[in-house]
Symmetry: C2
Subunit: 198 residues, 2 copies
């Protein structure tokens, strides 16, 4: 009765969802087994170091997805404004308008932070750096771009928390809309378009 899951990578999407929903400590092997359809034996065959290795695999996949879908266009896209707009839309879809938790953010807040500190840091550093690069390509100066990109990433994380707390996806969407305005760049002056509207 072998080979019901062709690849180790087939399990990663399920693993990600389990860790998102239950956290690192809350995701028991029983739960993981149910979600992936894999027995303990298979799980430990694919991930000899247990849950920790599973989370690392999930984090690696998340990092890759963001690199391809978000960071890379931000850094290298020919139209900075378009890349930023795409980032916000991709992000909103990815987090299902705040109904889906950011696993990296959740791990950062929990006491598991130390265990995955490097991966967590890499994720956010790459995001802020990539967004900053796009903002600089818009014509902003480096320092302003830095502050603005930090603020945007932080707002997305906060929007997930608040929209879940209020159980209202509209909160998340409003935050994304506001970021669209704040990150847009028009003409020669240094600020975004948001100053007079908010």
């Amino acid at each position: 009765m072998a080979r019901m899951v062709a690849e180790r990578s087939d399990a990663i999407a399920s693993l990600a969802e389990v860790f998102r929903e239950h956290g690192y400590e809350g995701a028991s092997l029983a739960l993981i087994g149910k979600a992936t359809g894999l027995g303990k034996g298979s799980l430990y065959h694919f991930f000899p170091n247990g849950k920790e290795e599973m989370v690392r695999a999930v984090l690696a996949e998340i990092e890759q997805w963001f690199e391809d879908s978000v960071y890379s266009p931000l850094r290298d896209g020919d139209d900075a404004n378009a890349a930023i707009a795409t980032m916000l839309n991709e992000t909103a879809t990815y987090f299902r308008s705040g109904r889906r938790v950011c696993l990296v953010g959740a791990l950062a807040v929990a006491n598991t932070r130390d265990l995955f500190a490097q991966a967590i840091r890499r994720y956010f550093v790459a995001w802020v750096d990539a967004l900053q690069a796009a903002l600089v390509r818009q014509g902003r100066d480096a320092e302003q771009a830095r502050l603005l990109s930090e603020d945007a990433v932080l707002a997305i994380q906060g929007a997930i928390v608040l929209s879940r707390a209020l159980d209202d996806p509209a909160v998340f969407q409003r935050a994304i809309d506001q970021l669209h305005a704040r990150l847009a760049f028009n003409e020669g002056h240094g600020g975004g378009a948001s100053g007079s509207t908010l």
Copy 2:
């Protein structure tokens, strides 16, 4: 060997710290006992419904602290600008510049959300409402005040996540500084002072 802890309330601060550091699932009774200096017997004497009741007691105390120190001045203070500045400073101190997690936010993200949904919701609704009231007293219109207050609360939560992820309290402080600018109100025009600086 009775009465080593005079009051049930003496344990709540320790309980809060344990749940902050380890989360709901991660905070085992062994850990809780160590942190509070109480054995299981005492713990279940004070909190007959176990961990759930402990968290509820902690949430009630947090709610009370924010009501007295943050929400009430925002709603009723005679100087709205001063009340807002106080809120930001009190908040920065309370969260130790992002080194300390927001328990309510952490619970909102974890799968324990449903269990404490009402308390979590109350906390954030009260915060946003109180800040909105202060912004309206500044002279802003209700809708703008609503968006701005939502944005501010969300930014604080996001700042905790990001500053912990990057292990850099300066990130949190920059977010607070930015909120100072964004929430300040000068003269007759409708926006904050932040438009041209960022």
